[in-house]
Amino acid sequence: MEALGTLVFGILPHAALAVLLGGCAWRLWGWAATPEPWPQPLTPAPAGRAGVAWRFLWQALAMPALWRANPILWALVWLLHLCLLLTFLHHLRLFVQPVPEWLMALRAPGRLAGHLLPLLLLILLMRRLAGPVLRRLSVWEDYLAPALLLALSLSGLAMHSLERPPLVEIKALALGLVGLRAAPSPPAGLFWLHFLLALGLCCYLPWGKLMHGAGLWLSPGLGQPDSLRSRAAAATGQAATLVQPGPPETSAWGPEEYRAALKNRWAGAGVHRVMGARERAQSLTGHRQWPGPGGDHGR
């Protein structure tokens, strides 16, 4: 039992944390290192980087796209993420000493969020099963992530309602983990299950779809500004070389051959010199020299 306690509370948490941080770093690095060679900003797009940052922030915090698609789903999803944040903050009080005032103030909302969380997850799981199209397109991973969160939150709730959680030992353990000190294992009970599930979540999180929050910032459509300068930069940037082919190959019908054919055709029609546009226009009425666009048309 002693050895098992050391394994579960001494070794596994550090291993899980390493997987979490290492995995997230690996995935984020992989994404950041992937270029997007096709510039294709989503109209109406901001012209500069500040505008793009606001656009991302607005997408991340208000989720206008989801609101457009389905306001009820938007409410559920927004509430779910709020509850996850509150639950996270609720747990944070265990890892710091002394506990700051604002964290103590969040205890009541945190408890409420903890009770709402399984409900919201269940509704979203039911939605996935109830929609015929969504059910057809779902794979096991689409169920794994919410199921893991559901098990985690239900075990946490059960810990509080079925038995009395050993909060003093848990706090000592949490502080020990933060400070890299050995702490005695809490007595056996539902906390062990909750703790192991949390470690499982840490190990799973970097690899699966729970990384979607970081995925938003990859969106080329949302992330590309739209201006003369940005388009020129995209054309000369490193990424563009991925889609730009080498020097033009000689085709049977290149511009030079074409120029020769053009001359032949006009000569065949009895014209020995291609009439310039100005001469031709002067033969019509009211020709005017257009001064040019005189402004940044394309923005």
């Binding site: 096709w38 510039p39 989720m63 796209a65 969106s219 053009l262 020299q289």
Partner: protein, 486 residues
């Protein structure tokens, strides 16, 4: 039955799996520089191309790795609404690629290998699904506006088409269109003589209809404007095309078209970067041949979006062309709108000519979501036509519905797919017709015009289809009644 109550088709997985394009001929593939159809090592080739795309295209990677599968995109896709097929949702379409990703490229596959995985996921069945469903998407990007993560399905569709091309899986009509551009400057294979003859006929028609001598020049050097139209415009959409001539005439601008490139849209983009660049470079080559002062793209959705966003990537910038006054191509609506603002049409423009016409403005997807235009066509419509209407808000502006025909779906064998893709837009138009009493559709894309003209008749909507410049041209120089003509 009123169009608004057309039933949405019931959910049926694989309902349109058999609606695939006819494959390209072997000699066409050879001319394209692509491998033969399904070479013996096609699995390795396809996986190799897939891995390369994943490494080099963040948009593809995001779609495959970041999607939560929330389903918010399902009802945004015209093709899902029209066919009821889950494979035709943006999620389902990306899922066809994600199957390969999960098996061969995901972190799990890399860490655990084949453990717990199906042995061979890449078979002829999956290839068949790819061939069907990546050609049932018009890359209209409407789903991007409904995805909370901003995932762009057009990048998935395009990448997968390029991957398919790497194993010789190319639709015949796209191959022919591409080779047509390389051979005669346009996908329809119109020879320069036909183009020139048609333009002479247009000059005669314009003189007869308006009493004004207007030029429709071809291959003239040093013009103010090199117009890059769609090849069908002088023929089946000549009213819009005459609108361009009328605008240039009213403003006193010289213009020309080139028989080296008389197609704005770039079918090479559906085949691969190399092919896209070959067509993109042709714009530059045509410009160098004729040395115009401005490059102007006519009412073409994909042509404009590609030339504007990717022109410099594909062909290099225009900075070296000293004779050009604007270093980027202009859209014809930008040009006309600017001319309108400068007063070039003052005293000529009479919106009364279009009294009684009540058109609803269908903004093409490529213009509304990829084209950086918005105010310009509306300013022109406001000046030319007093009674024009916007589409209802849920499908207006950037949320505009796809017409169902762009993105290389113009093959005869895809007629049913196109009709299915048009269905949501037809429904919205029927609503506008009933509630707001609109009598016509006005749009600014040759493909939209073709598709709406063909498809709205199928749906029994008595709406006529027009281009923005058709109306502008009518307001500038209205056609005289037949009896008043000489």
């Amino acid at each position: 039955m009123a169009a608004e109550s057309w039933p949405a088709p019931a959910m049926a997985l694989g309902a349109s799996a058999d609606q695939a394009c006819l494959p390209a001929q072997a000699n066409d593939l050879e001319a394209l520089g692509l491998p033969e159809a399904l070479p013996p090592d096609w699995r390795q080739r396809l996986l190799g191309a897939f891995g390369q795309a994943l490494e080099g295209q963040r948009g593809l990677r995001q779609a495959l790795e970041a999607c939560v599968g929330c389903g918010a995109c399902h009802q945004s896709c015209s093709f899902h609404l029209g066919t009821g097929d889950p494979h035709n949702t943006p999620q389902g379409r990306a899922d066809l690629a994600r199957r390969l990703y999960r098996r061969h490229f995901s972190p799990r596959a890399r860490l655990l290998g084949r453990w717990g995985q199906p042995r061979d996921i890449l078979d002829e069945d999956l290839l068949g699904l790819w061939r069907a469903y990546f050609w049932q998407c018009t890359l209209c990007r409407r789903c991007t506006l409904f995805c909370p993560l901003g995932i762009d399905t057009s990048l998935v569709t395009r990448a997968c088409r390029h991957i398919l091309a790497q194993v010789g899986q190319v639709p015949g009509h796209v191959a022919r269109e591409f080779l047509g551009i390389l051979g005669s400057g346009n996908g329809q294979g119109l020879p320069p003589a036909a183009w020139t003859a048609r333009h002479q006929a247009l000059e005669e028609e314009l003189l007869r209809e308006t009493g004004q001598a207007m030029a429709c020049p071809v291959d003239e050097q040093g013009a103010d404007v090199l117009l890059i139209p769609s090849p069908q415009e002088p023929f089946s959409q000549s009213a819009t095309y005459k609108g361009y001539a009328k605008v240039f005439h009213a403003a006193g601008l010289s213009w020309t078209t080139s028989t080296y490139l008389n197609q704005a849209s770039n079918p090479g983009l559906w085949l691969g970067p190399r092919q896209a660049a070959l067509v993109g470079r042709r714009v530059l080559e045509a410009t160098r041949l004729l040395k115009p002062r401005h490059i102007v793209v006519a009412e073409s959705g994909q042509g404009w979006a590609v030339l504007r966003n990717l022109g410099a990537v594909l062909a290099g910038g225009l900075a070296g062309e000293k004779y050009l006054k604007a270093k980027e191509p202009l859209h014809i609506c930008q040009l006309s709108s600017r001319l309108l603002k400068e007063g070039a049409f003052a005293g000529v423009l009479r919106p009364q000519a279009l009294q009684g016409v009540k058109p609803v403005f269908h903004e093409p997807c490529q213009v509304a979501r990829s084209g950086g235009l918005g105010q310009e066509p509306r300013r022109l419509l406001k000046a030319a036509c007093l009674g024009w209407l916007e589409m209802p808000k849920p499908v207006g502006g950037p949320l505009t519905l796809c017409c169902g025909a762009g993105g290389g779906l113009n093959a005869p064998e895809l007629y049913q797919v196109r009709l299915a893709g048009l269905m949501p837009l037809a429904r919205a138009l029927a609503q506008a017709q009933r509630r707001q009493g609109c009598t016509a559709v006005v749009t600014m894309c040759a493909t939209c015009q073709d598709q709406l003209g063909e498809g709205l008749a199928h749906f029994g909507l008595g709406l006529t289809v027009h281009g923005v410049h058709e109306f502008l041209g009518q307001a500038l120089y209205p056609s005289r009644p037949a009896e008043a003509r000489p």
